[in-house]
Amino acid sequence: MNRRRFLRSLGLAATAAPFLAACSSAPRRGAPRVVVVGGGYGGATTAKYLRMWSAGRIDVTLVERDARFVSCPMSNLVLAGLRNLDDLTASYDRLRSRWGVRVVSDEVVRIDVARRELRLARDGEIGFDRVVLAPGVDFLTEQITGLAGNFECIPHAWKAGPQTELLRRRIDAMPEGGVFALHVPKSPYRCPPGPYERACLVAHYLRTRKPRAKLLLLDANSEIQSKKTLFAAAFAGPYKDIIEYRPDSTLLSVDAQTLSAELEFDRVRADVLNVIPPMRAGRLVDGLGIPLTNGRWVDVDWRTMEARDLPGIHVIGDAVLAAPGMPKSGHIANQQAKLAAAAIVELLEGRSPDPVPTLLNTCYSFVDDRNAIHVATVHRYDAAQGTVLPVAGAGGLSSAASEEEGRYATAWAQNIRADMLA
């Protein structure tokens, strides 16, 4: 008997195979109810893994505003004309048909923590035993004078969808010798390497299509926030005549008519002005009635992803106050989703959750149409400190941008989507 068959005979494969029959059928009456709010990288993964790991014993509803999933990762490639938005768009059908998740296209307008109930914009009320909030981020538009109501003229394109298309059209329409100005907010924000990847990909587009154009990278931070040496090499190497990187460039106000930006120590005018606004946890979490850290992020218990002092209310993804060294990335949202799903299954069965959860992050960025770079980190719960910490000696950066990593970056996007939605 080989080891695999040996394990199967022991029922170890119970983690994978036998639930398949049960999971697409309707849950039993009286089954515990979990509602997941938000169908992004975190929420969709939670819904699937709750059904998988409970072998269909938990009734799972996913409430998502949009009819289809659209990926933020890879959306910078759309700006450079290297992908279409369709490539980044996927259906929730398999969550329904294969995993038995009830997917509801609606919006949560109120959370009643005491009564364990959500009110939906269209379809009344929905009760839960546990809820997982994966609301992503909302923008603090009011922190930049003149920005509110002007995302048509000054796109953010920091949530993939119509804004991505809009910014792409603006870039296409840019005059020869024009200026593209990109503002990076102070950390923490969604996707730390994202702005620098965007700078590289837009610069790649400009050097091939509008060679005299310039890109001003106006960073509110005092240095590149992720993959620093690798992005710095791209800015100083292939893009040295295109990208001008200006750290410590806090944005005070914008003028949507003239596309000018007033910075703390400078003033610039652009042909395309792309402001990534300061951000906070999605406003959905305000309904929890708990104080947010720095008024922005939800502090969680890292053994369960429950909001601090709110048992049964789990929060995951970009809305969470990140643990030390942990980025707000789609990959981390996937890992927090599984941490939450595992904990919920255990808690609903009356057992204790994994005492030492481990999370992994691998994040690729393209620097042009073919070459990519990565950062990887491993994070583990530290009981003494009550938080998740990076594992010393693990993780790292690419040695240099490469086509090999470009192929892995493309595969990563396909595969994490399958892990979440297939």
């Binding site: 080891r3 394990l7 691998t362 892995y408 396909q414 595969n415």
Partner: protein, 99 residues
């Protein structure tokens, strides 16, 4: 069998007939670290190798070779250093048993 830790992991797992066993749950949770990239549902062909269903000792051997630097890698050598021998053995065993 390739080593003591694999044996140890198997002994741990051998006591279980249900996925409620702490070692089996630990294995399942750790292997879920791998699946964003190495999803069993990933489309083929794929630049990232599929691991699910490969023999456990082959997976473990490979993970160890990444850790020692013997196997060339872009990222795997950095990732495996975040896991101990027992954890790598649990991961290999679980992934081998995945459909």
């Amino acid at each position: 069998m390739t080593g003591k830790s694999t044996l140890a992991a198997l002994c741990l797992l051998a006591g279980t007939t249900h996925a409620t066993d702490p070692a089996a749950l630990q294995a399942r949770n750790l292997a879920a670290n791998c699946t964003p990239c190495h999803s069993a549902d990933a489309p083929e062909p794929n630049a990232i190798p599929r691991i699910a269903g490969l023999p456990a000792d082959r997976i473990l051997q490979r993970l160890r070779a990444f850790r020692s630097g013997e196997a060339p890698a872009t990222v795997m050598h950095q990732i495996v250093r975040g896991y101990g021998d027992e954890q790598l053995a649990l991961i290999a065993t679980l992934l081998a048993s995945s459909p």
